[in-house]
């Protein structure tokens, strides 16, 4: 009987995949929003890893959960900030594609 749900490796693999997708999207996406979405995936990948270790390996199973909760808080903060930046940039440049934002380079 294949019991995927009770194996640590399954979760770690999923976490790695999500992380990989996130990196892939970060590089590939031309627009800020696409990058934001990819970044959320990266964070999720990390969270899944934490949760998996928390479940299977950690002596204190609260730690992973707490770290995941913190990641969520950071993700929410990030989303809010990125959204406001996107809006501000859009106002000034009429575009949110990274190509068009060359002016922002210091």
């Amino acid at each position: 009987m294949l019991t995927l749900s009770t194996q640590l490796n399954t979760y770690l693999f999923i976490g790695a995949m999500l992380f990989g997708f996130g990196v892939f999207g970060l590089v590939r996406r031309p627009s800020l929003i696409g990058m934001l979405i990819a970044a959320e995936l990266v964070l999720c990948g990390a969270s899944v890893n934490f949760m998996a270790f928390n479940r299977f390996l950690a002596p204190d199973p609260t730690v992973g959960q707490i770290i995941t909760l913190f990641i969520m808080a950071i993700a929410a903060a990030e989303a809010a900030i990125v959204m406001s930046i996107i809006i501000a940039i859009y106002r000034n440049y009429k575009s949110i594609e990274t190509e068009d934002l060359a002016d922002l380079q210091g």
């Binding site: 009987m1 294949l2 019991t3 995927l4 749900s5 979760y11 770690l12 693999f13 999923i14 976490g15 790695a16 995949m17 999500l18 990989g20 997708f21 990196v23 892939f24 999207g25 590089v27 590939r28 996406r29 031309p30 929003i33 696409g34 979405i37 959320e40 995936l41 999720c44 899944v48 479940r55 299977f56 390996l57 950690a58 002596p59 204190d60 199973p61 609260t62 959960q65 707490i66 995941t68 909760l69 913190f70 969520m72 808080a73 950071i74 929410a76 903060a77 989303a79 809010a80 900030i81 959204m83 406001s84 996107i86 809006i87 501000a88 859009y90 106002r91 000034n92 949110i96 190509e99």
Partner: protein, 180 residues
């Protein structure tokens, strides 16, 4: 909380649901990264989040699973949706103007990261702890959040506060009064 798996549940049923969740998660992630339209990408992200919430459920932390729904689906996804609505009302026009090299490079990089992480995870031998300090229930999470991790907790709240204020400042600055 009974952590043990009851004998009378049909394991195949359980595994089937789990497998479905895996597929949903991966499908969502794929959609989120590959979809041409941003709204589809958001949909993918939401699907992925729901899948991950399911995974957390299987990892026996319902609290985090529900928080995942509440925060990611209920707040982050909506925020991103809003960003799209505000900044890209004309999304049909928005072709994926990916730079020529970005695609292959992205695949290479993403693949490499996945491979490295996954292979490390698979190869490593993980050792289960001898004993668990606690069960990881909501109560215990709450307790350690306010004792051991209280400093981090405070820091995170400050970060959130600053993020909200910063977001307001940035988003408002460009907006003048309505001129007619």
């Amino acid at each position: 909380m009974n952590l043990s798996i009851s004998p009378d549940i049909v394991p195949i049923f359980r595994e089937g649901i789990f497998f479905g969740l895996l597929i949903v998660t991966v499908f969502g992630a794929l959609l989120a990264t590959l979809a041409k339209r941003m709204t589809r990408a958001i949909l993918g992200l939401v699907v992925c989040f729901i899948g991950i919430a399911g995974l957390y459920f299987f990892l026996n932390s319902h609290f985090v699973a529900l928080m995942q729904l509440l925060i990611y689906v209920g707040a982050v996804a909506i925020t991103i949706c809003f960003a799209i609505m505000l900044a890209q009302p004309d999304e049909m026009k928005m072709a994926a103007k990916t730079p020529a090299l970005a695609g292959p490079f992205a695949i290479l990089l993403g693949g490499a990261v996945t491979w490295v992480l996954a292979s490390t995870a698979m190869k490593a031998t993980w050792m289960a702890p001898a004993l668990k300090v606690n069960e990881g229930t909501v109560k215990q999470v709450g307790a350690s959040l306010l004792t051991t991790y209280s400093m981090v907790f405070e820091l995170v709240s400050i970060v959130l506060l600053l993020a909200i204020l910063g977001a307001l400042v940035i988003a408002r600055s460009g907006r003048d009064k309505i001129e007619c």
